[in-house]
């Protein structure tokens, strides 16, 4: 399978801060998850993939086109769905109006066909019943699903999702997984999240970015396996652990360099992630 995203030596700076530093990445169709601590450069990378930001240097190839060229960038946008990390909504719009507005901007100009498509994507995210409600009357989770709905318009070939499940409750997150798995067939989905469980559940591939560089690139299983033999349980925090916490069973789960004779535990993807980016990261969520 050929790569639909090719990034070579991409760098990006904000004033004096280097956010991406010569990043190389190739992504094939399927769901690819991006993990990394805050400030790692995930959002910047996704903005570059969504063509809303240009890199300072390096080459980017999306869907076989160069986003640095106006004509190519426009064509990429026709085949793109994007959920930014932090996006507002037009609160005076209804859910239908909001998605309809974005559908027009995506050049779905035939009214009947466009409205059919708007109804379809709202149905996909489970908002058909509230489509004529003003957005200000919807919950935060519903609003997030409206934003996801607009990204699904016209069945995009490239779907860029920056923390799409932020603000969703557990049930909504499960529904999102169901939605994503139904729309991702044949498409390239790049998903940034802090929810390692989403990565495990959804992604065929995971990329860990830290300080603007790729620290890991492989399957979720391969990422998890990097923590094999480095997670153990004990009655108290042990020397050599980079992070430790008391589990619900009253024992302490230690992650780090296991001492000889330690009672090893089955590692999870979050353990591997923590070991990879360091125990000082504030991005990791507590183990589920």
């Amino acid at each position: 399978m050929s790569a639909t995203i090719r990034i070579r030596g991409v760098s990006k700076r904000y004033r004096s801060t280097c956010v991406l530093d010569g990043l190389d990445l190739e992504v094939e169709p399927g769901v690819t998850g991006l993990l990394g601590p805050n400030g790692a450069g995930k959002t910047t990378l996704l903005r570059i993939l969504a063509t809303v930001m240009a890199p300072d240097s390096g080459t980017v190839d999306l869907l076989g086109r160069d986003p640095g060229k106006d004509a190519d960038r426009i064509e990429i946008r026709r085949r793109l769905g994007y959920v930014p990390q932090e996006t507002g909504i037009h609160e005076d719009f209804t859910a239908f109006e909001f998605v309809d507005y974005l559908a027009i901007l995506k050049e779905l100009t035939n009214r009947q066909a466009r409205h059919d498509e708007v109804r379809r994507v709202l149905d996909v995210v489970g908002l058909s019943d509230v489509r004529h409600k003003k957005l200000r009357r919807l919950s935060g989770g519903m609003r997030r699903r409206v934003v996801i709905a607009q990204a699904l318009l016209d069945r995009p070939e490239l779907l860029v999702l920056d923390e799409p499940t932020a603000g969703l409750d557990p049930e909504q997150r499960l529904r999102f997984r169901e939605t994503l798995s139904s729309v991702s067939a044949g498409a390239t989905v790049v998903l940034s999240t802090h929810q390692t469980t989403d990565i495990s559940a959804l992604c065929q591939r995971v990329v860990v970015i830290d300080a603007g560089e790729v620290r890991f690139d492989g399957t979720p299983g391969e990422l998890t396996s990097t923590a094999a033999g480095r997670v153990w349980v004990a009655d108290e925090r042990q020397p050599g652990s980079s992070i430790a916490w008391v589990t619900g069973e009253g024992r302490v789960r230690n992650v780090g360099t296991a001492p000889p004779g330690a009672e090893l535990a089955e590692p999870g993807i979050e353990d591997a992630y923590l070991l990879l980016v360091g125990s000082t990261s504030d991005a990791a969520e507590p183990a589920a």
């Binding site: 996006t87 995506k106 009214r111």
Partner: protein, 583 residues
């Protein structure tokens, strides 16, 4: 500061302020706007944005208010009939300017909706920001049919409520057109401000600037109409060198320029240079056409229209009546003739005038003549005391287009001056004289509409308790004010005359004589008295009743009615001097 300089300053503030704001914004915030994109979505987006405009709360509230307000103002007419242009006038003078200002706010709100909200999502679509601006500018026209509909609602309501309202004329459409365009202009200003000054206070500043440009700067200058956004119906016409229609074109030019400046916020394209240049040329050409100084020949022509009206008028004779009217007023003769005949038929045969001449004449006070014409005209030739009847060009109250001629015919018959003249620009006083009351009575009995007019006027006297104040049987002016100059002195004979740019000069009214409110009420009582008895009194005592020394009480006494019980006994507020008394 001239209005032109003020306009350039306002535009400059918008453009420079917008550029500075953009520089600061880009330095302080991450901006992801990308100008690349297509315009394919413009038609669909225009429809979408039009729907947003038409359902925007600011606009909806204003629309509801203006429709209610204009219809209410129309229906508030107390006597069951209205001037036939009242719905149009209320709507255009009050409704549309307010709506236009509301549209400044609405379009600004709509145009700035993406600011730091969905900007990033929108930037990831193939549609260019320019296309979104163009769609908004197209949507600016969407309120137009709604405004027309609101106007139609007012007109139809009025038509249904008042059976005697004549149909609308073409000039109403021309008059309204400029105001409707001004409404569109307000919306375009909203888009312009949204693109250059995308913060909440900008539309409010824009509204202040619009009001300032229209009313605060240089508004007494003779060339004030330059940049005035609304067409005023009292400009233009045959006495001006600048046709009214050009003003509408001028406003279209302003709309086009505003739209171009909004699009200039995006990277320039060659076509935009061309359109902007065209807009500027239209504004300059139409602005020049509306503000230029007239040539010597044009001044002479306009002066001749005033000084020798009959040389330019349509004239015809009907019986003992000779009529001369300016082009376009020929139809009025049909309304005037029955009124004049109705008056003369009540005059005893021996006292009936052999001939009566009716020559339509301007009323200077409401005509903003070109300043050059005002300076060149000889008032003594334009408004001589020639004993002829002089109905004005416009009647404020078109319910009774025949009352002025009826009253002037009656005034002539009883020996009062029918019309004002240069030496007596606000007429003379004949308050308390039987001949004045008789003139009111003859005029009021001439036709059904003149009877209505007299009753309405008498009703106003009762409502305003103006028994002892000057009240003329003249429908165009408020004589209570005209007769009492500032300081409370007697009328000097020199009132104010409007010139171009609202410079005020000498004033000439219409009715040649004025009485007290009590005379009008007495005339109404006489109308309601036994007709045969009144006719006999007039027939038998004509000479006595038309003597200036005979008081109104003598006439009522002859008929056997007591006006004092309803008219009050207060002494007149104004002392009639030798100079102000009617001959």
């Amino acid at each position: 500061m001239t209005i032109t300089v003020a306009f350039v300053i306002v535009v400059g503030v918008i453009l420079v302020g917008g550029a500075l704001y953009r520089r600061w914004d880009e330095a302080a915030h991450l901006r992801v706007t990308d100008e690349a994109g297509t315009s394919r979505a413009v038609p669909a987006l225009s429809i979408f944005e039009s729907r947003q405009v038409l359902t925007h709360p600011t606009w909806l509230i204003t629309l509801a208010l203006l429709t209610t307000l204009t219809t209410t103002l129309t229906l508030m007419e107390p006597d069951g009939s209205i001037p036939h242009d009242a719905p149009v006038t209320w709507f255009t003078v009050i409704g549309i300017p307010v709506a236009a200002l509301a549209l400044v706010v609405s379009l600004h709100r709509i145009g700035t909706r993406a600011r730091r909200r969905t900007e990033e999502i929108e930037a990831a679509t193939p549609t260019a920001p320019r296309a979104r601006t163009v769609a908004l500018l197209i949507a600016c026209w969407s309120p137009l049919p709604i405004m027309v509909g609101a106007l139609a609602t007012g007109v139809i309501t009025s038509q249904l409520a008042y059976s005697n309202m004549p149909p609308l004329a073409l000039w109403h459409v021309v008059h309204v057109l400029g105001f409707l365009l001004a409404g569109v202009g307000g919306a375009v200003v909203g888009v312009l401000l949204a693109r250059w000054l995308p913060f909440a206070v900008a539309p409010l500043l824009g509204i202040v600037a619009i009001i300032w440009l229209n009313n605060g700067v240089d508004h007494l200058h003779p060339r004030f109409r330059w940049l005035r956004v609304a067409v005023e119906s009292d400009y233009g016409g045959m006495f001006d060198v600048r046709p009214v229609g050009w003003s509408a074109v001028f406003i279209v030019g302003l709309i086009l320029l505003g739209a171009c400046l909004a699009v200039w916020r995006h990277p320039a394209r060659p076509m935009l240079f061309g359109v902007t240049t065209s807009a500027v040329l239209v504004i300059v050409a139409t602005g020049w056409s509306m503000t230029r100084s007239p040539s010597e020949a044009e001044i002479a022509d306009r002066v001749d229209l005033l000084e020798r009206p009959t040389a330019h008028q349509h004239c015809e004779s009907r019986g003992i009546m000779d009529y001369c009217v300016y082009p376009g007023a020929e139809g009025w003769i049909d309304a005037w003739d029955p009124a004049a005949r109705g008056v003369l038929s009540q005059v005893p045969a021996g006292y009936r005038p052999a001939r009566l001449e009716v020559v339509q004449r301007t009323t200077v006070g409401t005509y903003p003549y070109l300043a050059e014409v005002v300076g060149a005209v000889d008032p003594a030739r334009a408004w001589p005391a020639d004993g002829k009847l002089h109905p004005p060009l416009w009647l404020e109250d078109e319910r009774t287009p025949d009352m002025t001629v009826a009253w002037q015919a009656a005034a002539t018959a009883v020996g009062l001056p029918p019309a004002t003249d240069w030496k007596r620009p606000s007429g003379c006083l004949a308050g308390g004289q039987a001949r004045l009351t008789l003139a009111h009575l003859l005029a009021g009995r001439a036709t059904a509409t003149t009877a209505d007019a007299l009753r309405r006027k008498a009703g106003n006297v009762r409502a305003e308790v103006s028994w002892n104040q000057p009240v003329a049987m003249d429908l165009q002016y408020d004589y209570g004010e005209q007769k009492t100059p500032p300081g409370g002195n007697e009328a000097t004979g020199h009132e104010l005359l409007a010139a171009d740019g609202r410079t005020t000069r000498e004033y000439i009214a219409v009715a040649g004589a004025t009485g007290w409110g009590s005379d009008l009420v007495a005339a109404e009582l006489l109308m309601d008295a036994d007709r045969a008895r009144v006719d006999r009194a007039i027939e038998a005592h004509w000479a006595e009743l038309t003597d200036p020394a005979t008081p109104t009480s003598r006439l009522t006494e002859l008929v056997g009615i007591d006006p004092a019980s309803s008219a009050g006994n207060a002494a007149p507020l104004i002392k009639v001097s030798e100079s102000s008394a009617c001959p």
